[in-house]
């Protein structure tokens, strides 16, 4: 009998992703689901999806899910986790959600060291609403609200949320990853797994930033979008561990 080497994770529902071709969300959803499977925590995990493209994450990730208002996912997750500490609670948020409208909730949850695993998907635009400027949008990048490109003294500078959160004493693990290539995807999965492990070990706040591609709003093909992440986005948001005080290795 042939050995099965690849299958649909138990933590993924049999629904067809609604995401655009080439979008990073489908890959990142799968990574989260694989990690939940591998850690054997599907029956005690609760997820909080964002407002944005991934608002329907609950159609795909097969765990208990509770919706949060835009930007408030970490506050909602804090309530769930503190009320039932035995649960493993994660949020899945885009850059607009976590780094603009939800900045306050995010910084304070990190500072309190909330035992949460945060998946922060950074694609530099508001995807769901049609490609407006996000706090993470690169300088010079054209969006539907930065005609001619983002100008620093008009539109502000790209915000490096992960670096900001690293300053908070309650955060213990922050890593920036990408899903542009098999190599990066493997690294991203490892980071996501560690973010869950950190929570299971009750160590503190853990966040994995995933640089993602938005071919639709960037008006690029999926391949070009991946190339843009590697050639432009990573110049501004370099991959790697930003903070790790877990002292446990991987």
């Amino acid at each position: 009998m042939a050995k099965q080497v690849f299958k649909r994770p138990d933590a993924i529902k049999e629904n067809v992703f609604h995401y655009c071709p080439g979008c990073g969300h489908s890959i990142i959803h799968r990574l989260v689901a694989e990690v939940i499977d591998e850690l054997g925590i599907r029956d005690k995990t609760v997820g909080v999806p964002p407002a944005g493209c991934a608002v329907l994450a609950y159609n795909y990730i097969n765990v208990d899910m509770g919706e949060a208002p835009h930007g408030r996912a970490i506050a909602v997750a804090t309530g769930i986790k503190r009320a039932r500490p035995e649960l493993i609670v994660f949020t899945y948020q885009g850059d607009g959600d976590i780094a603009a409208i939800g900045t306050a909730e995010t910084i304070h949850a990190a500072n309190r060291g909330e035992r949460l695993s945060v998946i922060f998907v950074n694609n530099g635009v508001y995807g769901m609403t049609g490609g407006q400027m996000a706090p993470t949008t690169l300088l010079g990048q054209t969006t539907t609200t930065t005609p001619g490109g983002r100008l620093p003294l008009r539109d502000g500078f790209p915000l490096d949320l992960s670096q900001m959160l690293a300053v908070a004493n309650g955060s213990v693990y922050i890593e920036r990853t990408a899903v542009t290539s098999p190599k990066n995807i493997i690294k991203a999965k490892k980071a996501i797994k560690k973010a869950f492990q950190v929570q299971m070990d009750d160590l503190g706040f853990a966040l994995v930033e995933v640089l993602s591609q938005c071919p639709t709003n960037w008006k690029l093909s999926p391949v070009e979008a991946c190339r843009r992440v590697e050639e432009e986005v990573m110049q501004n948001y370099p991959l790697g561990i930003i903070k790790d005080t877990t002292h446990k290795g991987d």
Partner: protein, 357 residues
């Protein structure tokens, strides 16, 4: 049972704890700071209870939302401007059918207003307050002992109807010290199981709690479901006090602190032989509409007294229609009327409409 002399804010905190509340998140704002302070100390000594001083009103209400999703009795409290900030979360909880108790110790307004006792937030509380056309049950205590019973009842109503419940008071209710007695505490583990809570999909399908319904047909069904629930609440849960109304020819209608003052005024004019009584809505939503309308078979003059410039008076007009003449006496801004002032207003009506014949 022993009586304890206690400040109103502390009474709410103790009653909530005894009702099985095990999660509190809040943000400082006067005149309700004594409540979070009480909760912080009470929960620090109570196994399995969580107190969080949140970074904002928004965070606080959303933390409560999370705790509620996890099936725990949860509460937050604030005062008018803070309640405005919480409205986003209250709307989501109404849509997601999540129970919670939200205490509003009202201040003067609009804007930052002041910290004096007013009833400026009647509209906000009884009309839902946030977006989307929902309702919240609104309870209006008028004494220390009623802070006990209504706080505890708020948690039951929230759970039974899976909806946020507002406890509406003011600085006077929050600061005033009165003797109160408490019933025995409820063990949260003995409360009915919430078969909708998020606690991990063990031996069952995964659950979803969400207010997003992209399909208009689904959204319509969800809204009709809420409408039926609100109709059931109106049918079953109105509560009011009738005081000296049997022979009355004029009814004063007032709630909360204003009702406390009005009761003194009614006692005062009764001594002068004027047949006035007090109708006190205890639930502001659902408003005791039928009970008030029934009164108009014999009572043709109603005096609404509010510590604002006229909000509940609209519900009174809707209730009585053409059956009675509705008069209004209001003091916005945090002025606390005396029973004498209200007695004066009642007496003038008796004189003007020759009601003492």
């Amino acid at each position: 049972m022993t009586k304890q002399l206690m400040r109103g804010s502390h009474v709410i905190g103790e009653a909530a704890t005894r009702a099985g509340c095990r999660f509190y998140a809040g943000y400082p704002i006067t005149p309700q700071n004594e409540l979070p302070e009480y909760m912080s100390e009470r929960f620090a000594k109570l196994e399995g209870a969580t107190f969080i001083q949140a970074e904002s009103e928004l965070a606080a209400i959303n933390m409560v939302m999370g705790a509620s999703m996890a099936g725990v009795r949860a509460m937050t409290s604030s005062s008018s401007p803070g309640i405005s900030l919480k409205q986003e979360g209250i709307s989501y909880m109404a849509g997601m059918e999540l129970p919670a108790v939200v205490v509003n110790i009202m201040r003067g307004g609009p804007g930052l207003g002041n910290i004096a006792p007013t009833q400026q937030d009647y509209f906000q509380a009884t009309r839902g307050g946030g977006h989307g056309g929902y309702r919240t049950i609104v309870l209006a205590p008028y004494s220390g002992q009623e802070l006990v019973t209504l706080t505890m009842k708020a948690f039951d109503l929230a759970d039974v109807y899976r909806t946020p419940v507002i406890l509406l008071g003011d600085g006077l209710m929050g600061q005033m010290m009165e003797p109160v007695t408490f019933p025995d505490p409820i063990d949260p583990d003995t409360l009915p199981q919430k078969d909708w809570r998020l606690d991990g999909a063990r031996d069952r399908d995964s659950r979803l709690i969400a207010s997003l319904h992209l399909d208009p047909a689904q959204m319509e069904q969800h809204n009709w479901k809420l409408a039926r629930k609100y109709a059931a609440i109106c049918e079953r849960e109105t509560k009011r006090e009738s005081y000296l109304l049997d022979d009355a020819v004029l009814a004063v209608v007032a709630f909360g602190t204003a009702a406390r003052i009005a009761k003194g005024a009614v006692n005062r004019v009764r001594k002068a032989g004027l047949r006035a009584g007090l109708f006190r809505p205890i639930t502001l939503w659902p408003f005791p509409e039928k009970e008030l309308r029934a009164l108009t078979r014999t009572i043709k003059h109603v005096l609404v007294f509010e510590m604002n410039f006229g909000q509940m008076v609209e519900d009174v007009r809707i209730s009585v229609g053409e059956q009675a003449t509705v008069h209004f006496h209001g003091r916005p801004g945090g002025i606390i009327s005396t029973p004498h002032e209200i007695a004066d207003a009642i007496t003038k009506l008796f004189y003007r409409y020759k009601l003492d014949n």
